[in-house]
């Protein structure tokens, strides 16, 4: 919606009718209701989380009644605090471990797949595409349960439940994200760059590596960040494929605690996870900006939109 059109609309509104009615009927007016609605939604969306973060600093045991500020659930309480509870600490380590390994395997695998799907137009490509999209919208419980049955029956001797099985499941589930993101970017990149490279004497491999891949860096980094963030939050797959307490990441611990009688230490744990995710996203975004400096348009805020649309 152009700014000019809105100003024109302001002029046009002086034409007929009473004040409020005129204002309502004006098709060019500023959309106050929509703006208010949007801000109300954003508040509804973000506030509960902010409150939960706040309550991790609650002095008392309640998660709903504020009893004063304290660092007790983070470091203070010798038994229940986040940093003194070895089970919670281990869960954090497990979450980070799973996310990191999943990320570095799923993204290259998915990127290669995306490039292939974009360039290869055979029948198998369409089937593979369908399979990938199906895995994207399928409820995670189907994947979790089917992998659980796979590992406890068909692969009974090979793969034991635990971190290994969790990684296999997570990579499978996350594979579609890099594919979708990279493919979306590929659609805007034509074959000209590789053609030019090959005309200049590059082999197909060199053309790909040195011409196409750098153009894809923003999408690839976006994939890294999003895969990391999504894996840290994953619950269903890791729950079914976990074995001992050591292989239960933080999301499972939060779930078990939430069904029992949780203390604000759980809030602290969730906040910690949130911070690490934000940091991962932040790093990804910074790297994205550095690498796409030459490609970005001049509009302010376009960096974020590109990142999101990448």
């Amino acid at each position: 919606m152009s700014e000019i059109a809105i100003e024109r609309g302001a002029e046009r509104s002086t034409e007929r009718g009473s004040g409020l009615g005129r204002w309502l009927r004006n098709p060019w007016r500023r959309p106050v209701f929509l703006a208010g609605f949007t801000w109300a939604y954003l508040a509804w969306s973000i506030l509960p989380v902010l409150i939960a973060i706040l309550f991790s600093f609650n002095a008392g045991r309640s998660r709903s009644v504020w009893q004063g500020f304290s660092m007790r659930w983070w470091t203070g309480d010798p038994n229940d605090a986040l940093f003194h509870d070895p089970a919670l600490r281990q869960a954090i380590v497990q979450s980070l471990r799973l996310s990191f390994i999943t990320m570095i395997i799923a993204v290259p695998l998915g990127t290669m797949f995306a490039i292939a799907l974009d360039r290869w137009h055979g029948r198998p490509a369409k089937t593979a595409n369908f399979g990938m999209l199906f895995s994207f919208v399928m409820p995670e419980i189907i994947l979790g349960v089917s992998l659980y049955l796979l590992f406890t029956n068909l692969f009974k001797g090979f793969v034991h439940l635990g971190t290994g099985a969790q990684l296999l499941g997570l990579i499978t589930f996350q594979l579609s994200y890099p594919v979708i993101i990279v493919r979306a970017r590929l659609l805007t990149i034509g074959p000209e760059y590789e053609e030019a490279a090959m005309d200049l004497g590059a082999t197909p491999g060199q053309a790909l590596w040195r011409a196409l891949l750098p153009l894809l860096f923003p999408a690839i980094f976006a994939s890294f960040a999003i895969t990391f963030a999504d894996t840290i939050d994953d619950f269903v797959t890791v729950n079914y494929l976990a074995s001992t307490a050591a292989s239960q990441p933080l999301s499972v611990k939060i779930y078990s605690a939430a069904r029992g009688s949780p203390t604000p230490a759980v809030n602290a744990a969730a906040t910690f996870m949130l911070i690490s995710t934000m940091m991962a996203i932040g790093v990804g975004f910074l790297i994205y900006r550095v690498f796409s400096r030459g490609q970005r348009s001049g509009e302010a805020g376009a960096g974020v939109t590109d990142f999101v649309n990448a």
Partner: protein, 415 residues
């Protein structure tokens, strides 16, 4: 009772199946499983009838002998213990290591099915394992346990209650020794609810709508349905009667409607001491242990426990066993004997677990006087004749088990 499917497999079909398995699954174990005619029992094994008090079971040995009495203790080795979380006092374990020079590694399972599955696939080779009574037949039929050498566990006959000396579920103690006992009753917060009210209503108080949102029952199909059966005057806790089970299930649905009860396995020792739940179906051991879960400053007098006055509620015990795949069987026997010693059994119970071992030396009347059991919950003490007057949840055959599952399904799916 094999189903029609299981009877279908003939020799010719088993060859097809083996071939199919060889194509689909390149693992030896899968091929062996295929050759073993799926859905059939392992060779040489007949289906054991579930044990009942009036139908005692002598578990077959399948031609195996216990280990030799003079086998040397595996000093310096690491004993593998596979148990529920927090079910053994760490200090007692350290005392074992100090006394015998054998280290201990404690692995936990989240539920018994998982534990059994890991043992049967060989993923874990524990030396000592804990199991409820209703799993013993199954473990024996699957040849997962080894017979015990009683010369190595003299404390069994010496210290354990006479009522156990030749239990109906394992005559002559071939495979098991008892670990702890418990009753299942109703825990209540005395700071909100009167003793007199609970004593008058008994199980019914869990159905009382005035306690909406403050009630919890166990997320276990046998325990929850069992309580509903008792409440309705049905004392056969292993019934196969569909009518009885339907009655129990309908009543539980009514309970969920009336009080929006939480269905949870840990409410009795997490939400209950945290004062979020006032009425909880509870095992006696959880109640005794609750004195350690109460927040600072809250006196143990808030704990209340109700069990029928006639002591005819639900009672049970679990057992320790030695798996067939144990790598250190002598140390395992020594450990079991150690845990049956009156000093260590008491220490484990009083200072940590809260579940009472069936030791002769433990005088139920003294437990309250000594402060081991908070004095407001004297009913939580288990007495020997509770096993005569009370009712146990025992093993069910497949079809009956399915009926119980179906009844529980009805309760938990909002149907």
């Amino acid at each position: 009772m094999p189903s029609p499917t299981e009877r279908r497999f003939s020799r010719r079909q088993f060859l097809y199946r083996a071939a199919g398995a060889a194509v689909a699954v390149p693992t030896l174990s899968a091929i062996l499983a295929a050759c073993a005619k799926p859905g059939q029992l392992p060779s040489g094994v007949t289906l054991l009838e579930p044990a009942r008090q009036d139908r005692p079971v002598t578990l077959p040995l399948y031609g195996r002998e216990p280990i030799a009495t003079d086998a040397p203790l595996e000093e310096g080795a690491t004993l593998q213990i596979y148990n529920w979380d927090s079910y053994l006092y760490k200090k007692t374990l350290k005392e074992f290591t100090a006394k015998y020079g054998v280290n201990i590694e404690y692995t936990t399972y989240n539920n018994m099915e998982e534990g059994i599955q890991k043992i049967s696939t060989g993923q874990i080779k524990p030396d000592v394992f804990w199991t409820d009574i209703d799993k013993i037949n199954k473990l024996v039929m699957a040849k997962l346990l080894q017979p015990l050498n009683h010369d190595l566990i003299p404390n069994l006959e010496k210290n354990v209650w006479p009522v156990y000396q030749n239990p109906f579920y394992d005559q002559h103690w071939r495979y098991t020794v008892p670990y702890v006992t418990w009753t299942t009753g109703v825990g209540y917060r005395r700071d909100h609810i009167d003793d007199a009210e609970v004593a008058a209503k008994g199980y019914d108080i869990l159905w009382d709508p005035q306690y909406n949102g403050k009630v919890s029952i166990y997320d276990d199909y046998r325990t929850a349905l069992g309580m509903s059966l008792l409440k309705n005057g049905i004392y056969d806790l292993n019934t196969g009667s569909e009518a009885d089970l339907k009655l129990a299930a309908d009543d539980l649905v009514r309970l969920l409607d009336a009080t929006n009860a939480r269905v949870s396995i840990n409410a009795s020792y997490s939400a209950f001491p945290a004062d979020e739940i006032w009425l909880s179906q509870a095992w006696s051991g959880d109640m005794v242990g609750d004195q350690y879960y109460l927040p600072k400053g809250v006196p143990t007098s808030v704990l209340g426990y109700w069990y029928p006055k006639e002591r005819n509620g639900e009672v049970n015990n679990d057992t320790m066993v030695i798996p067939a795949s144990a790598q250190h069987p002598v140390a395992a026997h020594t450990f079991i004997n150690f845990m049956l010693d009156k000093k260590y059994a008491f220490e484990n119970f009083a200072d940590w677990v809260g579940y009472q071992p069936p030791q002769n030396s433990i005088n139920p009347t003294e437990l309250v006087a000594d402060g081991v059991v908070p004095k407001t919950i004297p009913e939580a003490v288990v007495r020997q004749d509770d096993f005569k007057k009370g009712h146990l949840l025992l093993e069910l055959n497949r079809d009956t088990d399915q009926l119980w599952f179906d009844a529980w399904d009805q309760v938990t799916s909002g149907g």
